[in-house]
């Protein structure tokens, strides 16, 4: 019951957020000087092509009627057709989603595997006499300072100059062999992970430090519990809440926004697709890309909220009044 009380308002908020995103995306493409048809068709379109488009999208109808029809189509999974191939955009996205998903999951796993322990260590070290925590802070600041495309470029230079066993570009799909696939995924994964490691390190360290100032940690120390037991029983669970949020947010970012890594390393994922569509002025793809990424992002935040409620028994209790 507690969870229903907790989740119902959140579902509503997620729905409102998605509606707002859809409205903004719709308006940004319709309310610009020159109109939708000009943007879509470019300046050299024939009158006939124009009329066809106006009829198809109902561009001569009032704007809110257009929006209603467009939204209704969205709700039925119709994100429009590619202006280049005239095929449903959503099919293309679904076909490419696994590649982007694999890259995002690999990056997330690598970043969590390194960032979490470093963050916990750094937070605990700083909580003590200090000094040692400086190293964690330096690593965190450094990692968050090198953009993925700088690291990616460095990798491309190094690995194309000297053959070091890893291929740059030439993506191999997962179903053609796990190891061959991984070999093409390692470099983009590592490029993306450097910032992510720093992000998780900083988030985890701050969370641990904040928990360490809590009264119940002092109480546990005063009871003479072993330091590692205190960390295991009391610090980690309490510090997990902000880390969960950042994990969900960053996973959402990776699923929708790993454009540069995919472009740099020619990974045929969603980001690459959107970017190359833009170069072909295929705005239907860009529009659908933003909508889908926002939808994934909002959904993941819902998942994070759900995880919260499981970790922290106080959440939800206040709302349901128990």
């Amino acid at each position: 019951m507690r969870l229903i009380y907790f989740l119902a308002p959140r579902l509503l908020i997620a729905a409102i957020t998605m509606f707002g995103v859809a409205l903004l995306v719709f308006l940004s493409l319709r309310l610009i000087p020159g109109g939708y048809a000009d943007i879509v068709l470019g300046p050299f379109a024939t009158g006939a092509a124009r009329d066809l488009l106006i009829q198809r999208y109902g561009l001569d109808e009032p704007i809110f009627v257009q929006f209603g029809k467009w939204l209704w189509a969205l709700l039925q999974g119709d994100f429009g057709n590619s202006m280049v191939t005239n095929k449903p955009v959503i099919d293309e996205f679904l076909r490419r989603a696994p590649v982007t998903g694999e890259l995002a999951i690999l990056t997330l796993l690598l970043a969590l595997a390194i960032g979490l322990p470093l963050g916990v260590w750094s937070g605990l070290a700083e909580g003590g006499a200090g000094g040692k925590g400086r190293l964690g802070r330096l690593v965190g600041a450094l990692g968050a300072s090198v953009p993925d495309f700088v690291i990616g470029s460095a990798f491309i230079f190094i690995f194309s100059k000297w053959s070091l066993g890893l291929k740059v570009g030439g993506f191999v799909p997962l179903d053609q062999g796990l190891w061959d696939n991984l070999k093409t995924m390692i470099l983009p994964t590592v490029s993306l992970s450097v910032f992510a490691i720093a992000l998780f390190l900083r988030t985890t360290r701050d969370a641990v430090l904040r928990v360490m100032t809590d009264g119940h940690i002092l109480a546990a120390v005063a009871r003479g519990q072993r330091p590692r037991d205190i960390v295991r029983h009391h610090v980690l669970r309490n510090a997990a809440i902000p880390v969960v949020t950042v994990t969900a947010t960053y996973f959402g970012f990776l699923l929708g926004g790993a454009v540069i890594a995919e472009v740099l390393f020619s990974i045929p994922g969603v980001g690459y697709y959107i970017f190359s569509s833009l170069e072909e002025r295929d705005y239907a793809v860009v529009q659908a890309g933003v909508l889908l990424a926002a939808f994934v992002f909002v959904s993941l935040n819902m998942v994070a909220d759900f995880a919260y409620a499981l970790i922290d028994p106080r959440i939800g209790a206040a709302r349901s009044g128990t």
Binding site: L218, A219, G224, Q225, H234, R237, N238, P313, R314
Partner: protein, 327 residues
């Protein structure tokens, strides 16, 4: 009487952004086995620092400048971490001001209690301990999270955690300050009952002089990081020798006749930038003379108590007994 805790010339300062601030300025104190001791003082008097120092629980920016604390003959300041951890686990029990923040919000009470007990206790043992702490529905409490308990119940849980290993010294820092007035007495009753049951020494830190005098055998009055008066409760309350103690008694609610105004102590407690070379109370003292601003008063026997004031005898003689002041 063997000392359970022996504090010798103890000096503690906190490093702050604006320089060092001294919280304890030479404390000498022996806490006897099984005694009940009340430490009274305003916030900033150093009493919490003293309580925390006994378990080497001072904040990271605290610095011990001089002296030592022995718990059961073992130095708290120089022993290694493991020895001090053992002391905390086996000999010391702490009860904190705010029970809600002393409990892990994400863990059920039963598990927190089990972690504090010896070995791996079963449900029945956990519930027996909760019953000892006066909780009527131990099963329900054990299954609860801290936010599902009232403040009084949570403080009973904190007391249960403190006595889980039958400590020899219980230290309670303002144990009822964050609780409803209606349940304060019952929580204090529980603390003293637990002390009687385990035979531990009980140290209560409080600003409530009346409660301390009423419940504890011995009382210590702290001001500016020093002990200004120390003695049997009745002696200190009945014939206070230090002007600060007298002011505390006058300022305490509950002593006034109907219609009479409470008499607050003028001024604010000092912020010590260095160990004081004079009497820290002098700026707020009605009896202060030139000597008080020049010479640090030593602790000496006056009447039945020990007092750190140059003019303790004169003040007692001049203004009659405190009983008259109070009544």
């Amino acid at each position: 009487m063997t000392a359970a805790v022996d504090i010798r010339d103890f000096v503690v300062a906190y490093e702050t952004g604006g320089g060092a601030v001294f919280a304890l300025d030479g404390i000498d104190l022996a806490i006897g086995a099984g005694e009940t001791l009340g430490i009274v003082g305003e916030s900033g008097s150093g009493k919490s620092t003293l309580g925390m120092a006994i378990g080497r629980l001072l904040a990271p920016n605290a610095r011990i400048d001089a002296g030592d604390i022995l718990v059961a003959g073992c130095s708290v300041t120089t022993s290694d971490d493991e020895t001090v951890r053992r002391l905390r686990r086996e000999r010391l029990g702490f009860v904190f001001q705010n029970p809600m923040s002393a409990l892990d919000p994400t863990m059920r009470i039963g598990r927190q209690v089990a972690l504090a007990m010896e070995g791996t206790p079963d449900t029945a043992a956990v519930e027996r301990l909760l019953v000892r702490a006066g909780l009527d529905e131990p099963g329900r409490v054990a299954r609860s999270f801290p936010h599902e308990l009232s403040g009084g119940m949570a403080q009973r849980v904190v007391i249960a955690l403190a006595i889980a290993r039958n400590p020899q010294i219980l230290i309670a820092d303002e144990p009822t300050a964050s609780l409803d007035a209606s349940i304060r007495d019952r929580i204090l009753d529980l603390l003293f009952a637990m002390r009687a049951e385990t035979g531990a020494s009980l140290v209560i830190l409080s600003h409530d002089l009346r409660m301390i005098v009423h419940r504890c055998e011995r009382v210590i009055v702290m001001y500016g990081g020093r002990i200004v008066e120390m003695g049997e409760s009745q002696a200190v309350f009945g014939s206070p020798a230090h002007p600060y103690t007298r002011a505390l008694i006058r300022a305490a609610a509950g002593n006034e006749a109907p219609g009479e105004q409470l008499d607050p102590i003028p001024g604010v407690p000092p912020v010590l930038r260095a160990p004081s070379a004079d009497c820290a109370f002098a700026p707020r003292c009605a009896h202060a003379a030139e000597r008080c601003r020049r010479e640090r008063p030593a602790e000496r026997a006056v009447g039945g108590s020990r007092v750190a004031c140059h003019f303790a005898e004169e003040i007692m003689a001049a203004s009659g007994t405190a009983r008259e002041v109070a009544e």
